[in-house]
């Protein structure tokens, strides 16, 4: 038994054959939905399958996936980070300041911006650990503070004269279909998967999320773990924000909405659809990847179908509801046949 991790994380004795139990996983379900919707959209509309649309879809997917990752790493430890949007915008504006105002080359501006994201995240972590309060209320407060300070410092003015390289990166197109942003997201995804599977730190994070007391008894330093996970969340939010900057070619304070609120829905949709438990201790990086991808795909497809731009949100909400209900049903079914839920 490793570190008090729940049985369900890996030492399963399935009552079903291997392949069949994979079919019942969340990830396969998401993959099937992605393919299914993809075919339906491609056949149903003239534009969905065009190289240009798939390229722009991939680009938007990449950003939503990163935002989902930023929330996922905090959900893993049983917490929430409502300030992902605010931290992201602060990172982006820092990048703008460093590269436009201070004239630093990208090699310094990008790490600088990400470092700020990490610091803000670490600040969240420290506040949470020191006060012992729930991360919901702390990050609700810091979301206001971070955003407010950012707006005050920048006077809500955007950085519009960024180096051409960054928007070129956003516009680049490989093989006619693939955006480099998507490659970055996939790379980050692989790193996160490695973090949780292979490194002690990753396992400690999951342990802390699954059962904090048990983890502490097993020697996990909870305080350090929480701070590190929020730091990671801040860095990931920064990467997402830089991707947005690459796509638009400018660093705008309004990029994530008021207080960064616009990022909250995509931040949760991906990981939750992907099977992360809000209580912590269980995340699926692949699931979060596929979950965000599915949401982006459906949004894109609905637009193609001329479903009024305004009704898209309703469909997304219904999708989330159906997904959690299906997941509940799936787990109940698996429990009833004696297999262990994944």
């Amino acid at each position: 038994m490793t570190l008090g991790l729940p049985e369900r994380a890996g030492t399963a004795r399935p009552a079903l054959p291997r392949a069949a139990s994979w079919l019942l996983t969340n990830e396969f379900g998401l993959l099937a939905l992605i393919v299914g919707f993809g075919v339906a959209f491609a056949l149903g509309t003239p534009g969905f399958g065009s190289p240009f649309n798939l390229f722009t879809l991939g680009r938007v997917m990449a950003i939503d996936i990163m935002i989902g990752f930023a929330m996922m790493v905090v959900i893993a430890t049983g917490g929430l980070n409502l300030s992902v949007g605010a931290i992201g915008v602060c990172s982006a504006m820092t990048f703008g300041c460093l590269s436009e105002r201070a004239g630093l080359p990208l090699a310094f501006a990008i790490p600088g911006a990400l470092a700020l994201g990490g610091c803000l995240g670490a600040l969240n972590g420290q506040l949470i650990v020191r006060s012992g309060l729930h991360s919901f209320i702390i990050t609700l407060a810091t979301m206001s503070v971070f955003f407010g300070v950012m707006v005050f410092v920048t006077r809500a003015e955007a950085f519009r004269a960024l180096p051409a390289a960054i928007s070129a990166f956003g516009k680049a197109r490989y093989f006619g279909y693939v955006s480099p942003l998507l490659i970055v997201s996939a790379g980050v995804g692989l790193s996160l998967a490695a973090l949780y599977r292979l490194t002690p730190l990753g396992r400690e994070m999951l342990a802390a999320g699954a059962s904090a007391p048990a983890a502490e008894l097993s020697g996990v330093r909870l305080g350090r773990t929480y701070v590190l996970c929020h730091l990671l969340s801040g860095v990931l939010a920064g990467i997402a924000a830089l991707m947005v900057v690459a796509r638009t070619g400018a660093a705008l304070p309004s990029m994530a909405g008021d207080l960064g609120q616009d990022w909250l829905l995509p931040a949760f949709l991906g990981p939750v659809l992907g099977g992360a438990a809000l209580a912590g201790g269980r995340v699926s990086v692949l699931g979060a990847f596929l979950g965000s991808a599915l949401v982006s795909e459906i949004t894109n497809g609905l637009l193609q179908f001329r479903v009024g731009e305004f009704w898209v949100q309703t469909y997304l909400g219904l999708l989330l509801l159906i997904a959690v209900l299906l997941d509940l049903g799936r787990r109940k079914f698996l429990a009833s046949i004696g297999s262990v839920a994944r």
Binding site: H134, I137, S144, F146, D258, F310, T314, G317, L320
Partner: protein, 319 residues
Amino acid sequence: MKPRLRLWLGADWFGPLAIILAASIGITIFDPSFLSPFNLQILMLATAVNVVVAMSQMIIIAVGQMNLAIGAIGGLAAISFAGLMQVWSFPPALAAAAALAIGVTAGLLNGALIASTGISAFIITLASLSVFKGADLGITRAQPFYNIPAEVKALGDTTILGPIPWLALPAALVVAGMWRLLNRQKVGRYILAVGGNASAAELSGVSISRTILWAHGISGFLAALAGVMLVARLQLGQPSIGDDWLILSFAAPVIGGAALSGGHVSVFGTLFGVVIVAVITQALVIFRIDPFFVQVVLGLLILAAVGLNRMREVRFAGA
């Protein structure tokens, strides 16, 4: 310390009230127009709507959950109210009743899903937030309903007894009603019990599902009421009503001493929390301080409030 004084100092509403008095005195010294009738009217108008929003969230905090959808429910109710009057010529009273019914139904839907599936309120209300907001925008195509009947506009505009706006009346009724509910009514006691310790409550015979339904139904009703009041105040049916309710709806109860884990809220503390926010916002305008600062101040207030609550929990345990 005298027992009565100790009781008061330990009360949730004492801190916020003290802050309000101190701030008001301070601001008035600098700028006497702060206490002018027109200014008081503005303060009361802002507070009236916001206190109903805060109560809507407070009742859910009491039961130990969070309701992310109050803004969306409020927006949907607001445009239904305005739309029924403009497009289908409903009389205002009927349209308001319909809007409130929509709010209750939305709340009950949330409650039913939460109670029957056991899925966390966070996820359910996140999903329903999208559904309702999408419906709100879809019906209105993001354009407000401009034709609000004169009686409704008057409700939002006129005052009684000097500077007290008409809208303060429903707000006062809500505050009184909530106090009675949580302190005198069975349902209120059940809500606090389930929020405090659900298993113990269940063992004592409280039906958890029913209690959750009650809480969410009330929350939906209050959210819809706030939406309708805002239509009267803004004098149009704006689909974006409710978009900025999230932070305030948590800030006020928390400043007022609510425990996010459930089981402990203070009605008057929440009321004073709302007043503090209104006073500070107004002060920033009076002193021509950068309005961007409001966000920072709000966030710091929340941090300070939860920090203080924590300390008080330790210090006055049992008071």
